[in-house]
């Protein structure tokens, strides 16, 4: 999704934008986001200070393994955190609006209009009892005040946009009558129904087969180009992220440990976690022998070690790594939270 000349990376100073409008402020700016789980006086921090910026029209990937806090970060932007989780501190600005200062009505106006979201499992995100055309039309009527017929016509155009054949007939289909790939297309139609500026895609293809994944990713890529929307793409799949994103943030134990433009991150990763993770990806080549692994396990919520949380599993750790939380290494728009990078 190049040209990638308008990139400002999380934790980094934005680079002047060329060719895509004024440089100016990012569309979405997250600073020092903390999210905690718990009740009463026992709280565990699952997201521990995330900074992230997304400019209009760019695709930013957030990768990490389960428990890294990537999905919580996405849900926090939409203020859809699960019960028991709360934003304990931080700032989030979207198109000039302070998201944390909005009341529920204000958030409802944003959700499904200026910000759209698609989830891993469209079957639970769609209403099983309503035809998909109605669900899309309802959203259009709510946010745009269109009449029934006009909203349905727009819903049909949206189904066509997301690449569904015979869209008029499909308006009447129920979610269970559609395949997984088709449902994800319907979810996308719903998410972009009211001309969002930002689409948050949380593991949108994880439940799909690779061949269907390839189709859905191609569709998402085409749509975001046609509509000019920014995308926050949450995934555990580094290879997929490398294919579609302009910038990438790698999360571990609730923090962004490395952020860079996609080529820099994949060709010259500075954080050992990123390097070790890249080695672990099974690739279609003629390599044999044992698969590379990262020893040990990610830390548990509430038991995140002091110093660098990756140090116990790191192949480059030295004494300082377990003693002190790492400072941030920076070169241009590339950052890594790592003592080894700073050496």
């Amino acid at each position: 999704m190049s040209p990638r000349d308008d990139l400002g990376v999380s934790d980094m100073a934005p680079i002047p934008v060329v060719g895509r409008g004024a440089p100016g402020k990012p569309l979405l700016e997250i600073e020092g986001l903390h999210i905690a789980f718990g009740a009463r006086d026992r709280w565990f921090e699952a997201v521990r200070g995330v900074d992230l910026r997304i400019h209009a029209g760019e695709v930013v990937g957030v990768v990490g393994e389960s428990g890294s806090g990537k999905s919580l970060t996405a849900l926090a932007i939409m203020r859809l955190l699960p019960r028991g989780a709360r934003i304990s501190s931080g700032r989030m600005r979207f198109a000039g609006t302070d998201l944390l200062a909005l009341d529920e009505r204000g958030m409802n106006r944003l959700r499904g209009s200026a910000m759209g979201m698609i989830f891993q499992d469209p079957l639970t995100a769609l209403n099983p009892a309503l035809p998909v055309g109605h669900q899309i039309a309802d959203s259009i009527r709510t946010h745009q005040g269109l009449g029934r017929a006009a909203a349905l016509a727009r819903a049909e155009a949206l189904l066509d946009l997301v690449g569904i054949a015979r869209p008029r007939e499909r308006l009447r289909a129920f979610p269970h009558e559609l395949s997984g790939g088709m449902r994800q297309r319907v979810m996308t139609a719903l998410a972009v129904a009211n001309d969002p500026r930002l689409l948050i895609a949380d593991e949108p293809t994880t439940a799909l087969d690779v061949t269907v994944q390839a189709q859905v990713m191609a569709m998402l890529d085409r749509i975001r180009r046609e509509l000019g929307i920014a995308v926050l793409f949450i995934s555990h799949n580094l290879e997929l992220v490398a294919e579609v994103c302009d910038r990438v943030a790698v999360m571990y134990a609730g923090r962004v440990v490395e952020g860079a433009v996609v080529e820099a991150l994949f060709e010259a990763p500075r954080h050992p976690y990123t390097r070790q993770l890249l080695r672990c990806i099974p690739r279609l080549n003629d390599e044999t022998g044992p698969m590379p692994t990262i020893p040990g396990l990610p830390p548990r919520l509430g038991a995140i070690p002091g110093g660098c949380p990756f140090a116990p599993r790191c192949d480059a750790a030295f004494a300082r790594c377990t003693a002190e939380a790492p400072d941030i290494w920076r070169r241009g728009d590339h950052m890594a939270r790592c003592w080894e990078a700073l050496r």
């Binding site: 054949a165 690779v210 698969m291």
Partner: protein
């Protein structure tokens, strides 16, 4: 370096070894599994309901000592086929032969020997372990079922845990207290408790994070090398299967469309579906801008 690290010439052992002479450990002959499509009760009773074949005339021979990979996407019939291989499902037609004998005809001791000899590891470690049983009990019950005398069980438990790379303190944990990777190791230990000759692993790593997948895959390789355990690895992940299997079969719509050593299947695929499957695997930076849509989605 473990002896495993030296794999020169080991990978394609499945081909180089003269299988023609050796009797297969497990053989599937013209296996077919049909289901009636959900229609009216009357149509089903009268046998006029439309039928769909989940597995459509599949024949396979698993040789002793090999790691065989079965690849395909959801709905291709790979899980149905593996359940038939372990005897959890009966085929609509066709035969399953274990050490040359038709399992449908096995009785008594011979049937027990097949039941123990062919074990399964499941994808979902949450639902395949009883949440209320500590690991010690889950494994002890498996050992008792395998006919171990009670007195031998405590020592066997420790040996099993060691074999799958788990610390003995985990014996006193409940499944939810373990990570996904650790639970999968318990699943493998429980299968090993039966002292099996063949392990059928259905998507054993697909619910694990990428940094942990390798640990389980390597454990399977090690069990194959150390114990001579024959393994059928069922997966949607072509890259994982190609890496550790000596032979792979690609399944589509109930049929095996291509079979061969991984190097041949990956680099000189003959079937169009295999080529589609390979092309769909994300390729990182190399795959940028290669994603192009072709036609509107029909299904």
């Amino acid at each position: 370096m473990s002896p495993l690290d030296d794999r020169s010439g080991e990978r394609h052992g499945g081909l180089d070894r003269p299988h023609q002479g050796a009797a297969p450990l497990l053989e599937l002959r013209d296996i077919r599994k049909e289901y009636a499509l959900r229609q009216g009760l009357l149509a089903r009773l009268t046998g006029r309901a439309e039928r769909v074949a989940a597995v459509d005339d599949v024949s396979l021979a698993i040789q002793p000592g090999e790691v065989f990979g079965l690849v395909g996407e959801s709905g291709c019939g790979k899980s149905t086929l593996s359940q038939i291989a372990v005897g959890l499902l009966a085929p609509s037609s066709g035969q399953v032969l274990y050490r040359g004998a038709d399992i449908a005809a096995l009785r008594g001791e011979a049937r027990q020997a097949y039941r123990r000899g062919v074990q399964m590891v499941f994808q979902d470690t949450h639902s395949s372990l009883n949440p209320r049983k500590r690991i010690r009990r889950a494994l002890a019950e498996a050992l008792a079922a395998s006919g171990q005398p009670r007195a031998a069980i405590p020592a066997k438990l420790l040996a099993l845990m060691d074999q799958v790379g788990l610390d003995a303190v985990m014996l006193d944990r409940l499944p939810h207290e373990l990570s996904g990777g650790q639970r999968q190791r318990v699943g493998i230990a429980r299968a090993l408790a039966m002292d099996p000759a063949l392990l059928v692993a259905d998507e054993p790593v697909s619910s694990l994070d990428v940094s942990l997948q390798g640990q389980i895959v390597n454990l399977l390789r090690e069990l194959n090398a150390r114990l001579g355990l024959t393994i059928v690895l069922v997966s949607h992940d072509l890259a994982v299967v190609a890496r550790i299997c000596q032979r792979i079969a690609v399944m589509q719509a109930g049929q095996i469309v291509e079979e061969g050593p991984p190097a041949r299947v990956l680099f000189a695929p003959e079937h169009p579906y295999t080529r589609t499957l390979i092309a769909a695997v994300p390729r990182g930076l190399a795959g940028r801008r290669s994603t192009r849509e072709v036609a509107p989605a029909e299904a």
